[in-house]
Amino acid sequence: MNIITNLFSSSVGKKYIMAVTGFSLFGFVIAHLIGNLQIFLGPEAINRYGHFLQSNMEIIWPARIGLLVIIALHIWAAIKISAENKAARPVAYAEYNPTVASYASRTMLMSGLIVFFFILYHLLHFTVQVDQVNLTGKSFVNLHDAEGRHDVFAMMVLGFSKPIVSLFYIIAISLLSLHLSHGVRSMFQSLGWKKKSYANVLHCFATGVSIFIFVGYVSIPIAILLGFGKEALSK
């Protein structure tokens, strides 16, 4: 009982929640990226992968519910912490210089919330496949390949062929990378897993992995806008 109250009511405990849920979501972002990059291996690879995920209910639903709980906890902690932080300084400075505090570290709530709204759109776009939001005038649900599997390759090419959709995607990924450049570094600090001897390694890892995530995700809409997978559009 005591451990639960300490986790949910103390300042340090809430940061543990933030860090652990953040780490899980970071893991998802990496796994999702590696899954999606299979688009560059051609329709066969990504459609097989899509079919594999969709046909294993006992994997995909626990994963979805788990992610939902984790996101809810992450956002709850973020809003609670931000509200307390605002209340901790009722009178603002006339002049305030945050010195070394990075832009990413000062905008975590805003970058996080924008990414959250992107995720809602992204789910409607590619997961629920609501035709009204894809702006192509075509239906994603009816795309199937020769083997009768859902044609994920064609859906991605079609979806990102709309420049406005790709632009929103690229903006969201930029903010996600910014969020993670601070978040990945801070989660180790918040959990107390940081020492001088490897602090630099953590710092480089956070920066490196954020760049990797940015380049990895953005490469997909950019490649599609440059003509990758054009043949799928004619279907």
Partner: protein, 255 residues
């Protein structure tokens, strides 16, 4: 040097307060920032006005009493020093300087630039005691302590409790202060028996005082006059985690 000062003036804790502009003329570059304010105050007194109230004591950078935010930076932005050790040669003739008190709910303004920092005292009190045997003076090195541990404990113990970390943090968090106090005792064998109880109680006192949460921006470390490292906050987080996992504090004898 002639300067323009924009100073926060507030008659009492209930007064709304506001920025008032003053001229600081004929300032000698070798004066400290506090001496410059002394000159301005002399002038105000001679004109029959209320002098600017500000905290200061040792004026040699070791007591942690002086406290003001200068142009948006706690202690004025010179690394590793308090305001009393900041000299006017770091400013240019004709500069406009904004001077404000520490801003935090837990540090209410008493008057002008003077704030009530007793929230820190309450955190220290909550930390309790260390168990030390009475009797004759123990022989030197009876308790073997590795040099690195002693050094690290000393680095944490260097905290003078000025509150600049709170003032600089965008969340008005006291984590750097609390982490220094928790770490310096947790690193030494003398502080070990009460370590778990201490960290839980100090974090609780910190939360109750109304300080914000740490979001690892690093502003505190940058303004700390004793250059306390952000790594101590990681240490505090580790100590807190160990304490709630072991959950032994409840079973220990109450103070």
């Amino acid at each position: 040097m002639n300067l323009t000062l924009k100073v926060w003036r507030q008659k009492n804790p209930n007064d709304a307060g506001g920025i008032v502009t003053y001229d600081a003329n004929d300032i000698i570059p070798d004066m400290s920032f506090l001496e410059m304010l002394d000159v301005v105050n002399e002038d105000l007194i001679s004109r029959g006005e209320e002098p600017i109230a500000f905290d200061s004591d040792c004026r040699e950078g070791i007591c942690g009493t002086c406290s003001m935010v200068i142009d948006g930076i706690a202690h004025g932005g010179q690394r590793g020093t308090t305001v009393c050790q900041l000299h006017m040669r770091h400013f240019n003739d004709g500069d406009t300087i904004t001077i404000e008190p520490w801003r935090a709910k837990a540090f209410p303004v008493i008057k002008d630039l003077v704030t009530d920092r007793s929230a820190f005292d309450r955190i220290i009190e909550s930390g309790g005691f260390v168990s030390v045997n009475t009797g004759g003076t123990p022989d030197g090195n009876t308790l073997p302590i590795p040099k690195v541990d002693a050094d690290e404990a000393m680095d944490a113990a260097a905290c003078i409790g000025c509150g600049a970390c709170v003032a600089a943090c965008k969340n008005a968090s006291a984590m750097l202060f609390v982490s220094a106090k928790v770490s310096h005792l947790a690193l030494l064998p003398q502080g070990k028996p009460e370590a778990e109880r201490r960290v839980l109680k100090m974090v609780k006192a910190m939360d109750e005082a109304g300080f914000g949460n740490c979001t690892v921006t690093g502003s505190c470390e940058a303004v700390c006059p004793k250059e306390i490292s952000l790594d101590f906050i990681a240490k505090l987080n580790r100590e807190f985690g160990k304490a709630i996992l072991k959950n032994r504090a409840e079973r220990q004898v109450a103070d």
